[in-house]
Symmetry: C2
Subunit: 151 residues, 2 copies
């Protein structure tokens, strides 16, 4: 569906760039050949439960709502699920395979979850690597992510 794909792109865009306004988002989406208007974006943003937060430079930017304040919106969760193909462990790492181009967004998402044992995330085109302190923690994180995906 075009809509899901577009919303997934929105999540990706806001996790990579500092998007200040919906018009800016429209422009970025046009560049990625999603031809939509601001009105549609406004609706997408509401559905995804995105918020505007202040950056260090005192400008507003769109962001995914953090987990402690409020549950991640169902819509976000669904998109997250669709993008993750597999979750595997390797020593003190958890490796996620994702749809091409969505790894950045997924990595950002994992960061947002603020799981205690996650030390950090890096990502490429279709792979996210989560670093934990030890093998046991990697296992815990994998469990946790599986739980979230199973919701």
């Amino acid at each position: 569906m075009a809509r899901n794909s577009r919303q997934s792109k929105i999540l990706e865009l806001i996790s990579v760039k500092e998007i200040e306004t919906q018009e800016e988002l429209v422009a970025e989406l046009k560049a990625a050949s999603y031809d939509v208007t601001q009105a549609t974006i406004s609706r997408d943003i509401k559905e995804l439960g995105l918020i505007k937060i202040l950056t260090d430079s005192k400008k507003y930017k769109y962001a995914i709502v953090s987990s402690s304040n409020q549950a991640v919106s169902n819509k976000c969760l669904n998109i997250f699920k669709e993008c993750v193909i597999s979750i595997k462990n390797a020593m003190n790492l958890v490796v996620l395979k994702t749809l091409k181009g969505t790894a950045g967004m997924v990595s950002n998402f994992v960061d947002q979850l603020s799981i205690n044992s996650v030390l950090g995330c890096t990502f490429g085109e279709d792979t996210v690597m989560i670093i934990t302190a030890d093998i046991e923690d990697a296992y815990l994180v994998q469990q946790k992510l599986n739980e979230i995906l199973a919701q």
Copy 2:
């Protein structure tokens, strides 16, 4: 200073009521005899780093930015500091004395901090009670709060 007092009132208002718009906030402030315009509120909100999140009923309301996403804004922290008079332990409880009328706001704030050992908070007019699992946890929470206030 009138400004700090007003901003403190704003934090209190948004923690107690679901404030959907700045105009609504202006009205509430007027009722509390703070006579200001929407423009000023807009600036206050920016300074406090407040955000708009979706409620369960799909309406937007103002909220304090959560701790995991981003540090609580300096401004919020300052106001928090000014409102807390003392922090004491009693068994598995931590008891905060606050300025009259600000306990609700402070309690909300403590919730936002998402400290692990905090099981829950209740409050009256000028007292916040934090419940923890045991005496040791109460001590840890007290330590943590003192750290935050000392920042």
